[in-house]
């Protein structure tokens, strides 16, 4: 057994923190991302509810947030975090910047998934007399499902990367552990183990995503 130089509980706590941050921000971010993506797809000029004002505003918001590096975003929105959570630091406080970061990212990925849905299917839905909600529920979502699952997979892996920086606001997590105990103390075995743990995380998530996407596309 290699000596990691930290108590094993610390590793477990870090893993827990990472899972917590990823899971909660992914859930909230997916819902927000889905709403934004659907709005973008509907209001785009070839969409079924073209609205230039809504499309251009939302599109710019997504672009602006996406162009800010996560570490800067985190510090930049601290007042918002304070207003929402009551504190600027800690694992829960890290959720706010994570959601703000991941929602527009997922929105972009979801938007592409929806745009892959054949225009003809939407036209068929309209010809059938489907309402807008029915078009989204019975046509857009089911036909884009496989692609949406892959988008969530990519988003999740992006989130794991972002949580490593959550240490900057005291968020903790596996990445933070590797930086503070591994890198700054030059504890090579610890860095190595955390990297291996992250690789396994990512591999598992990608495989699960691929499997679910495959299942939703093939019968």
């Amino acid at each position: 057994m290699i000596d990691l130089g930290v108590p094993p509980q610390l590793l477990l706590v870090a893993a827990e923190q990472t899972v917590y941050m990823v899971a909660v921000s992914l859930l909230i971010g997916s819902v927000l991302g889905l709403v934004m993506a659907i709005t973008l797809v509907l209001t785009n000029k070839d969409g079924i509810l073209p609205n230039r004002l809504v499309f251009v505003s939302l599109n710019s918001v997504v672009n602006i947030i996406r162009s800010i590096p996560f570490i800067i975003l985190m510090v930049f929105i601290m007042p918002l975090t304070k207003a929402l959570i009551g504190t600027r630091i800690g694992t829960t406080a890290a959720l706010v910047p994570l959601v703000v970061f991941i929602a527009p990212y997922l929105a972009r990925l979801f938007e592409n998934s929806f745009l892959e849905v054949d225009r003809g299917i939407i036209e068929a839905a309209q010809a059938m007399g489907a309402s807008y909600v029915q078009i989204i529920w019975h046509f857009l979502l089911p036909e884009a499902k496989g692609s949406l699952i892959l988008s969530v997979t990519i988003g999740t892996i992006g989130l794991i990367g972002a949580t490593a920086m959550a240490g900057a606001v005291g968020g903790g997590g596996v990445g933070d552990l590797a930086l503070t105990y591994g890198y700054e103390r030059m504890n090579f075995p610890l860095m190595f183990v955390t990297v291996v743990v992250l690789i396994i995380f990512v591999q598992l998530i990608q495989s699960l995503g691929n499997y679910l996407a495959f299942r939703s596309r093939n019968h």
Binding site: G120, A124, M128, G129, A130, P142
Partner: protein
């Protein structure tokens, strides 16, 4: 009844304005199988989409069963669209849903009772001949079977009108014929008016009773299929008709004829319906002292009516040949003299 009045629509492509429809007027009666033919870009699909208001006109009006669809809101259009089924060239089925679910979807969206939906879908499946495919997915079906699912789905809301957008263009000739037969059966048995957009004159010939020919956003010719086929006015119509009813003397024969010097006349006659059963050539040979030689003949059935075209060479005394021509005119036979 569908009535389209002076409908115009412009599109902008690459900064240039294109008139997709230019003051188009059409009337489609209940029970018709109305064909709209033209090359791609003629505006025929845009015109078809005006009927269920997938496209809205910039000017003019579209009225379906006494409802002006061109001025309705999206919400108000929904019940009207249940009255108008539509099928597509690329079928546009949901690939993630079974055949059963695809056909049931319009009923479910219309909040029909589950039991009723079940009965209706199985009736429709056997009507289109796919009773054993209920649990298959679209990508397990052939093109013809997919179109049958498309047809069943379009019929699920019990429409009175069925719009077909190049519905047989992605299918091989045999499959295409069987789909056309199914559509004709639907027209007769379920009394559904069919509007069929196509670039294939064979479709018009096989099932339509009315036809409109379109070119650059205009309807250049329309009427009963038999009339349009037997006497096409416009160059484009003639071109379309010639592909199903050839009217040319074979080239080799033309060469031989050109080499001959004896006085003769080449006459093309068109016979329709009852005229085709008249022993015309026999009558002429008996009455006049001319030599008749049939160089070309074709007989086609369109919309249940027989149409025959013949090119006959009459040789002999020019005076007598003139009498033959007078005979045609007197008997109201459509004829014209050809030059090689």
């Amino acid at each position: 009844m569908i009535s389209i009045e002076k409908v115009s629509k412009k599109f902008t492509s690459r900064g240039q304005e294109v008139k997709a429809l230019d003051e188009v007027s059409l009337t489609i009666n209940d029970g018709d199988i109305f064909g709209i033919i033209g090359f791609s870009g003629a505006g025929k699909s845009t015109l078809l989409r005006m009927i269920n208001a997938l496209e809205k006109p910039e000017s003019g009006s579209v009225t379906v069963n006494n409802v002006e669809v061109s001025s309705l809101s999206y919400r108000a259009l929904r019940p009207v669209r249940h009255e108008i089924g539509m099928i597509f060239q690329q079928f546009n089925l949901l690939n993630t849903r079974t055949v059963y679910e695809n056909i049931a979807l319009p009923c479910i969206m219309a909040h029909q009772n589950r039991q009723e939906v079940k009965r209706k879908v199985s009736d429709l499946l056997s009507y289109v001949g796919l009773a054993d495919k209920a649990q298959s997915y679209p990508d397990q079906l052939s093109g013809g079977q997919k179109q049958r699912v498309g047809i069943a789905r379009a019929l699920a809301t019990s429409p009175s009108i069925l719009l077909c957008d190049e519905a047989t263009s992605a299918l091989d000739p045999d499959t295409s014929s069987s789909i056309l037969q199914l559509l004709r059966k639907i027209n007769r048995e379920l009394e559904i008016t069919i509007v069929f957009v196509t670039h294939d004159i064979n479709v018009i010939k096989k099932i339509c009773n009315k036809v409109a020919v379109m070119e650059s956003g205009r309807v250049i010719e329309q009427g009963d299929v038999v009339e349009v086929f037997s006497n096409p006015q416009h160059a484009l119509t003639r071109k379309f008709v010639a592909t199903v009813i050839p009217e040319d003397i074979p080239e080799n024969l033309q060469k031989t004829l050109k080499a001959e010097t004896a006085p003769c006349s080449l006459i093309k006659i068109r016979l329709a319906d009852r005229q085709t059963t008249r022993p015309l050539i026999w009558e002429i040979n008996k009455r006049f002292d001319v030599c008749s030689n049939v160089l070309f003949a074709s007989v086609t059935e369109i919309g249940g009516i027989v149409l025959s075209v013949m090119i006959i060479r009459y040789s002999g005394d020019p005076e007598v040949i003139k009498k033959v021509k007078d005979f045609f005119t007197k008997n109201s036979i459509d004829w014209q003299e050809l030059t090689l």
